[in-house]
């Protein structure tokens, strides 16, 4: 067992991928000379050279599209969009090319591309740099969307993402990079299909993912002290959703709170809720509750930002309300 940061886990994953397959290469803004905006790729240029660790111009649409083309030409590109905030500039390529070409070409072409981006708020970066759009991206057929919330997933999700013949988007939450934990070296692979029960419980199911997992776990601790046993599910894969795991849990607990850093209206939390209604409506003993971000462009001031984000306190309150309505 060694203790490493989430950032280091991401980097180990990249390094392993580059070593394992000569078709793998990285491109993105400031990943090489600068070492990556969040220092994830620091050192990789020296190790793998400028052919495989490519700094790109600030041309999100072009280099994402180039990643798609390179994937179609037989490479296994890992494209880094520095943060999700800039990915809007590449959205046409992602939706209209990466996600559409396999089906639209009648299955002639696959797009085995991985796109990584940092996501989320909490660092006072204000409206244009604090988006949490991974749940929104999960609307798009043809994509697989991953949200590693643990060191283990940060370390091991990349390999199956690269092995996937489809475009895979990996969202790394900015507040997780500095998180440290033990990496169990006996585990050398994870799947990218299942949700994971991170804490078992019987009274309520708390469904979450990514940067909100630590918040949900903290809330579960508090709730445990009050005698409420919350089961915490980490979705891990935002598309396609593993609703089997979630629905089975809710069928046991009969109550559910969904925690999602996206804006509430049209959030992934809404989708999870709608699916539960479709799947286990008659098992529900209380309305499903959502704890999401306030529907505001994220403000800079710390107190406003924190007020806008889901946190353990709001999760605890939502669970209490669901478990013991006033």
């Amino acid at each position: 067992m060694t203790v490493i940061t989430y950032r280091e886990a991401c980097k180990q994953a990249l390094r392993a991928a580059l070593v394992a397959d000569p078709r793998v290469f990285m491109m993105g803004e400031d990943i090489a000379a600068y070492g990556g905006c969040y220092a994830v790729s620091k050192g990789l240029l020296a190790e793998f050279g400028a052919e495989r660790i490519r700094d790109t111009p600030l041309s999100e649409s072009a280099f994402v599209g180039a990643g798609i083309g390179a994937a179609m030409a037989g490479m296994r590109p890992i494209v880094e969009i520095m943060t999700v905030n800039f990915s809007l500039l590449a959205l046409d390529q992602i939706m209209n090319n990466a996600a559409s070409i396999p089906h639209m070409s009648g299955g002639q072409f696959a797009v085995p591309l991985v796109i990584r981006m940092a996501t989320g708020a909490g660092r006072q970066l204000a409206a244009q740099h604090s988006h949490s759009l991974e749940g929104w991206y999960a609307h798009i057929p043809g994509l697989r969307i991953l949200a590693p919330a643990t060191i283990e997933d940060a370390r091991h999700m990349l390999a199956p993402a690269l092995a996937d013949p489809n475009p895979v988007l990996i969202f790394e939450h900015v507040m997780l990079y500095n998180v440290e934990a033990e990496l169990d070296e006996r585990i050398d692979a994870v799947d990218i299909t299942h949700a994971s029960i991170r804490r078992a419980g019987t009274d309520v199911t708390v469904v979450t993912y990514g940067g909100s997992l630590p918040r949900a776990l903290a809330a579960a601790d508090t709730l445990a002290a009050e005698g409420i046993a919350a089961e915490v599910i980490d979705l891990r894969v935002l598309r396609p959703l593993d609703m089997t795991t979630v629905a089975a849990s809710v069928a046991r607990t009969h109550r559910c709170v969904i925690v999602d850093e996206g804006w509430k209206s049209g959030s992934l939390a809404a989708e999870v809720c709608a699916r539960l209604v479709e799947m286990v409506f008659y098992e529900l003993d209380a309305p499903i509750a959502r704890v999401c971000s306030a529907e505001v462009p994220m403000p800079y001031a710390a107190h406003l930002e924190q007020a806008a984000l889901p946190n353990a306190g709001r999760i605890v309150a939502a669970v209490r309300q669901v478990v013991r309505p006033a």
Binding site: P57, G69, A70, M75, Q108, A110, R144
Partner: protein
């Protein structure tokens, strides 16, 4: 035929004419099939521009990649996509090259490295940069030929793609089919500088403007450009000046241009010009032209029959290939 010189032998000349005629006839029948509602959706015909697809394609090898737009029947045919598969695609049949999912705007043919058929203006340019990058990284001596209209020059993707290709000296042949209109918008109403090939200077990309209605000139220019790319000269831009003598699509009343302008360009049409020149120079015999026309008619009729006889994909397969099980070999 190679390098900078064309051996204008008899067979070659006939071949160029035949290719253009095949496209023209195919599309004339497409328009008819559209009226008969066999083809639906958007249908963008290539009348008047055939010399470009034919000329450029002569300069490519099967290893090269071709990336085109929604107006790509000409490129597809010149590239060798079988008319049967193409027509079946337009009929929405599972025998179509994309199983009927793509239609006119999305022709793909993996066997011929024909990578779309892209209906987002400018959307194909980044892809071509990517195929060129992928080829280069794998040591393949392949060129990515990317066709786009002058309308795509307005888009940021043009700028980003030319820069990236030039920066990394990638083997991309950018072929701008400048037909002076993007739908109903005249070039001068869309671009502050209308000399498109001159824009390449901003990226350090070598470029040339060529009479896009002269198939031999296009082929020569394309061979020069492809030669330069293969010699390591980085991306090249070829601006082919031409004119679309039909409507933009089947829904276009052409309010934005004069009939006389269209007529004038028709007189300069690539097939008419080339054929007239061949005939007046006694480079073809009368019956040869008639023969190749008949062959084209026959080929297209066979394609229509093939398409007619085709089947609609089973509804159960609707979701097939949304997510791929494997990367096709």
């Amino acid at each position: 035929m190679s390098g900078d010189k064309l051996h204008l032998d008899h067979q070659t000349l006939l071949h160029l004419l035949a290719q253009m005629v095949r496209i023209r006839v195919f599309e004339r029948r497409c328009a008819e099939m559209y009226q008969r509602e066999k083809i639906r959706g958007f249908l963008h015909l290539y009348d008047g521009e055939e010399a470009i697809a034919v000329g450029v394609m002569e300069a490519l090898t099967p290893h090269d990649a071709v990336i085109a737009t929604y107006r790509e029947h000409g490129q597809a045919i010149a590239r060798g996509v079988p008319m049967t598969h193409l027509m079946a695609e337009l009929f929405g049949k599972v025998e179509g090259c994309c199983r009927g999912r793509g239609g006119s705007m999305h022709i793909f043919d993996r066997a011929r490295r024909f990578i779309g058929g892209n209906a987002i203006v400018g959307g194909g340019l980044p892809l071509a940069v990517g195929t060129a990058l992928g080829d280069r990284m794998q040591g393949r001596d392949a060129v990515s030929a990317c066709f786009f209209g002058e309308g795509a020059v307005d888009e940021g993707e043009f700028h980003e793609s030319l820069n990236l290709a030039a920066l990394w000296r990638l083997p991309v042949l950018f072929v701008c089919e400048n037909n002076y209109y993007s739908m109903g918008t005249a070039l001068a109403d869309a671009e502050s500088v209308t000399d498109i090939h001159a824009k390449a200077a901003g990226y350090g990309v070598a470029s040339e403007a060529v009479d896009g209605n002269d198939v031999v000139a296009v082929e020569l220019a394309a061979r020069r450009a492809v030669g330069a790319i293969r010699a390591g000269g980085g991306p090249q831009l070829l601006e082919c000046r031409t004119y679309r003598t039909r409507a933009h699509s089947m829904f276009d009343a052409q309010l934005y241009r004069d009939k006389a302008e269209v007529e004038a360009w028709k007189q300069r049409g690539p097939i008419l010009r080339f054929q007239t020149w061949l005939e007046s120079s006694h480079l073809v015999f009368d019956d040869e032209v008639a023969k190749l026309e008949a062959a084209a008619e026959e080929e297209v009729s066979a394609a229509i029959a093939f398409a007619e006889a085709g089947h609609f994909e089973a509804l159960e397969d609707l979701e097939r290939f949304v997510v791929m099980d494997e990367v096709p070999a």
